[in-house]
């Protein structure tokens, strides 16, 4: 078990982070290269002002017409994405690992808060799952991959929650948590989880086109 | 070319008051001046449905139900499109063509100005009339009209097969061709655009679309074997007879000659190509990158870039120099040999070279008035109207035609007038 733990928290972690950061860089460079090769005109319409205006507006809960139209989803999606990003980065037991390995550390969440946030991620995942299964316009466009990526995201939180509370076999759960976290990191650049990287760019482009050329709001 | 040697290059100034016309007639349409500046004319309205042509204040006794498009030929004859009893024809220097037509439009004059052609609708059939004579064969439709430089031959894109609207598949089999002097090519195409005649009128080239997707140039009815995703209007080489045209390949534009590429398709756009008078070089307007425009000579782009456009490409008569207009926002610029004149204009007209090519002049608009600029320097005149200036054969004087305070002025100005 120790050897497995050492492997998943050592070489496999390195690999996951490599794929995550390397993958992000690769996808971004490739995107820019492709735009430059085939649709260079896009650059001439990009505007920092209107990109940030659009991104900023969509980052405000209930800041757009569509957010207001779907209050439940808006609450869920903001809760989910905030907890998803904040919890792993500021979790005490994660920061401890960084400290032990690289001698760097930062502010951490109180464990109770982190625990609640983890539960919120899981609840939101369940909400998304149910939404996919019962909302006609979502169900209609749902593919198997949608469930897979939802599972990839939910898994580290479910396993992490179980491992933290040590309700099942802790060592197995800890390893499962680490592995599922690594899978998520590695999957982000190479699945539709890549919307983490690309959505600010698509939003920026649409914001620029609407702001600079069409003189209209895109929210 | 019109021989300007016989023109009056000595008198300093002549004047013809226009304002009194406005009192004599119900209204006076936009005046036009003859190339030599000796005559100025306008369509004038005498009464309801009564129009005349007023030249230097004289209207003669011809009265039309409608008259429009009064212009002068390069040789100085005036002409207009006129209607009587719901039929249309052309009047040239007071002589009305013998034949009337259902409608006439799109007049074309040749280089000497001795011949004049128009597009004609006659009994809902379409064709062209040259000096009053209609094509023997007319067609269900005709578009894009051309007259050879020597004025002997006319050409147009014509519809040669009947095709009702909504017969889309029949249309796609090809219902159009080009007619030269009224005689259509045997080949049919989906579309024919911009027929261009060789200077002597013996050959005809046009853009064609072979189906919905493949474009090429057809010369005397035969399409080039190469096809492209788009093409623009062709030009004949002034001496060799070769045909060049901008062509689009994989989303970029280049230049082809007789079907083969002579400029690689590296441009976002290529159009308005002009051969140097001796045919030794080819210039064209290009966009070397998206949203940036300049000129290219033999495929090499100039360094000066404009955001909006470049137009009015002109070679000097001896072919040493090249000028054009460029636009950035509200500013029009004159660019000569890749150098911009310092002063921008609200509008500028085609640059005019002196015979030796050492001077460039242009009609320009600045601060709501028209004026003339020479080699970047602005003449002091502030005019309500102006026409393109003409250099004297010796190149030391400039004929300037303007309207100022309701008076038409013909001035012969020494170039020293334009010194700083």
């Amino acid at each position: 078990m120790h050897a497995v733990y050492a492997f998943v928290s050592g070489p496999l972690a390195w690999l996951a982070f490599l794929l995550f950061f390397g993958g992000i860089c690769y996808r971004l460079v490739r995107l820019l290269w492709e735009v430059n090769r085939t649709e260079k005109f896009i650059f001439s319409y990009m505007s920092w002002k209107y990109s940030l205006r659009s991104i900023g507006r969509w980052l405000i809960p209930f800041g757009t017409a569509n957010w207001r139209l779907h209050p439940g989803l808006t609450v869920a999606t903001f809760t989910f994405h905030i907890c998803l990003l904040v919890t792993p980065v500021f979790l005490l037991s994660h920061v401890v690992l960084w400290d032990e390995a690289f001698d760097v550390s930062w502010w951490t969440l109180p464990d109770g808060v982190a625990d609640v946030m983890t539960v919120l991620v899981i609840v939101c995942c369940a909400y998304f799952l149910i939404r996919r299964l019962v909302t006609p316009e979502v169900k209609f466009v749902t593919t198997a991959s949608d469930f897979v990526i939802l599972a990839i995201v939910a898994a580290p939180f479910i396993t992490g929650f179980l491992a933290y509370h040590q309700w099942f076999a802790y060592p197995v759960m800890a390893i499962a948590h680490i592995v599922s976290g690594e899978i998520m990191l590695a999957a982000i650049p190479f699945t539709r989880l890549s919307h983490m990287i690309f959505s600010p760019l698509t939003r920026a482009y649409m914001g620029s086109e609407f702001g600079k050329v069409r003189h209209a709001r895109d929210w | 070319m019109t021989d300007s040697a016989n023109w009056d290059w000595d008198s300093g100034a002549k004047q013809i008051p226009i304002t009194p016309w406005r009192e004599r007639f119900r209204w006076v349409e936009e005046p036009n001046a003859s190339p030599d500046g000796e005559r100025v004319g306008a369509v004038v309205n005498l009464d309801e449905g009564e129009f005349a042509i007023c030249i230097n204040g004289e209207t003669g006794d011809q009265v039309f139900d409608k008259a429009w498009h009064l212009r002068f030929t390069p040789s100085g004859k005036w002409y207009a499109l006129v209607s009587e009893m719901a039929e249309w024809t052309v009047v040239v220097d007071g002589q009305t063509w013998a034949q009337n037509f259902g409608y006439v439009w799109n007049p074309l004059t040749c280089v000497s100005g001795d011949h004049l052609a128009v597009a004609v609708q006659q009994e809902m059939q379409y064709g062209m009339a040259l000096d009053g004579v209609l094509w023997e064969t007319t067609y269900a439709n005709a578009t894009y009209f051309a007259l050879s430089a020597d004025g002997q031959v006319t050409a147009a894109a014509v519809q040669v097969a009947a095709c009702d609207s909504a017969e889309v598949h029949k249309f796609q089999e090809g219902t159009f061709s080009a007619a030269i002097a009224g005689n259509a090519w045997e080949n049919r195409f989906v579309n024919v655009w911009q027929p261009v005649l060789s200077a002597d009128g013996s050959r005809l080239a046009a853009e064609v679309r072979l189906n919905l997707y493949d474009y090429t140039i057809a010369v005397d009815g035969s399409p080039w074997p190469q096809t492209f995703t788009s093409v623009w209007e062709p030009s004949f080489h002034p001496s060799s007879g070769a045909v060049v045209a901008p062509v689009r390949i994989k989303g970029k534009w280049g230049m082809a000659q007789d079907g083969d590429l002579i400029w690689q398709p590296d441009f976002v756009q290529v159009w308005r190509q002009v051969f140097r008078p001796d045919g030794g070089k080819l210039a064209a307007v290009v966009a070397p990158k998206y949203g940036r425009w300049t000129l290219a000579v033999d495929g090499r782009a100039w360094g000066t870039l404009f955001r909006d456009m470049v137009t009015d490409v002109v070679w000097s008569p001896n072919g040493d120099r090249l000028a054009a207009l460029g636009k950035n926002g509200a500013s029009w610029h004159i660019i000569v040999d890749d150098k911009i004149w310092q002063r921008p204009f609200a509008m500028a007209w085609t640059p005019v070279f002196s015979p030796a090519g050492d001077h460039v002049a242009a009609k320009v608009e600045i601060d709501g008035h028209y004026s003339i600029a020479v080699d970047g320097r602005l003449w002091s005149g502030r005019c309500e109207a102006a026409w393109n200036p003409v250099f004297s054969p010796a190149g030391d004087k400039l004929l300037v035609k303007t309207i100022e305070e309701g008076i038409y002025h013909r001035r012969v100005l020494p170039l020293t007038e334009f010194a700083d």
Binding site: V35, R37, T38, E39, W58, T64, A65, N66, P136, E137, K139, F140, V141, T142, T143, D146, R192, S194, H195, S199, T202, R203, M206, F210, V213, R214, H215, A216, D218 | W27, E29, G49, K66, W68, H69, Y103, V104, W105, N106, A119, Q121, Y126, A142, T143, A166, V168, F176, W193, R209, Y213, S230, R248, K250, G251, Y290, G291, D308, M309, A330, M347
Partner: protein, 445 residues
Amino acid sequence: MAKAPAKTEPSQALDQGLAVGVARLTPEKIESTIRTVLKSETGARLSTYVETCIHCGLCAEACHYYLSHDNDPHYAPVGKVKQTLWEMIKQKGRVTPEFIEKAAIIAHTECNLCKRCAQYCPFGIDIAYLMLVVRRIIHKLGCTPLYIQDTAHSHSVTMNQMWVKGDEWPDTLQWQEEEAQAEFEDLRIPLDVEGAEIMYSVIAPEPKFQAQLIYQAAAIFHAAGVSWTMPSELGWDNSDMAMFTGDNEIMGRIKRAHYDAAIRLKVKRIVMGECGHAFRSVYDVGNRWLGWEMPPIPIVHAIDFYYELLKEGRIKITKKYPTPITLHDPCNVVRGGGLHEKARYVAHTLCESVVEMTPNREHNYCCAAGGGAINCGPPYKQTRISGNRIKAEQLFAAKTRGAQVLIAPCHNCHSGLHDIVHHYGVGLDIKFFGDLIYELMEKPA
């Protein structure tokens, strides 16, 4: 994946153009065409949009077809992408002729390319662009619906939308000029005036069927003392159905003819009539194909121009229009040109009472005629009407609050809304701004 409810299909007559095109398809042709378009004509934009879409369905309520079909997911923007482009990509082009026929109908008649969904997608995915890619494939396969294909042919031959021949255009202008001279003695429709400040361009239905609109425009320009002209030769028509059939090469050609006319006439600006799609084509789309980042000569839509004339007092209103009006925001000039506040300035200047529809401005519902849908002709009229019940409801609501006249400053909107008002018995008179200005302005003796 999940089994969806059956689609609510509107009744539909046979489209000969589409039927013949589909009958000529072979699996090889379909596959190679789709692959070629996807590989050589699209790029990072398409792949990023497809890979970034998280299938959340949040675009659904942006679409008037979806709302009008009781939230049938087939009509959700992403649902339409699923039924067309996703499948083409997933099958690597190996789809059947029947699939292509269905895709043609979806992309051409169940989407108006209004871009409202781009405002509702949290990622700003441009689904209208994806539908245009489908239309491009359909064009390349020769399966474009008959009526709009015929219109594209008209554009290709005559550089106008309605097969208006070379003589018919100046003849119509001269006829309108003569008519107008009975009312304004020295009114002119000045042809080919080099150096005029403005070139006025229209769409071909005006000279073909609605010449009185040219009369009205001439009267307004005359009253305002505008320096204007119209070209007597090619390039007078600013419309563009080739943009909507995916025939980008013809689109570029007709836009060039339009700009070349303005360049030839040495005008400072192009003012265009009350048309939306033409504005989109001239201002935002056709220019790009030609390499112009922005229009080389400023494009001023009629709303913008009327705003200018009223604001500067060049047109004076004798009295305000007493009947309460409601204002339709055409997608292409509002979502596509930001003219909604100027439209309101014009409306409030002209009228005593303006009843707002909701939603409005950038969020207004499309007329369901735009994007070439009405140009697909009678076979799809019912598609437009049943696909826009929501607009009828919106209009009813405005009527309930007092509106009696509907201002639609766009030709396609005008015609599309006419069908909707008629079919649903809404009972609103539809007018252009030009109609009101002509009626209300101070006319020179």
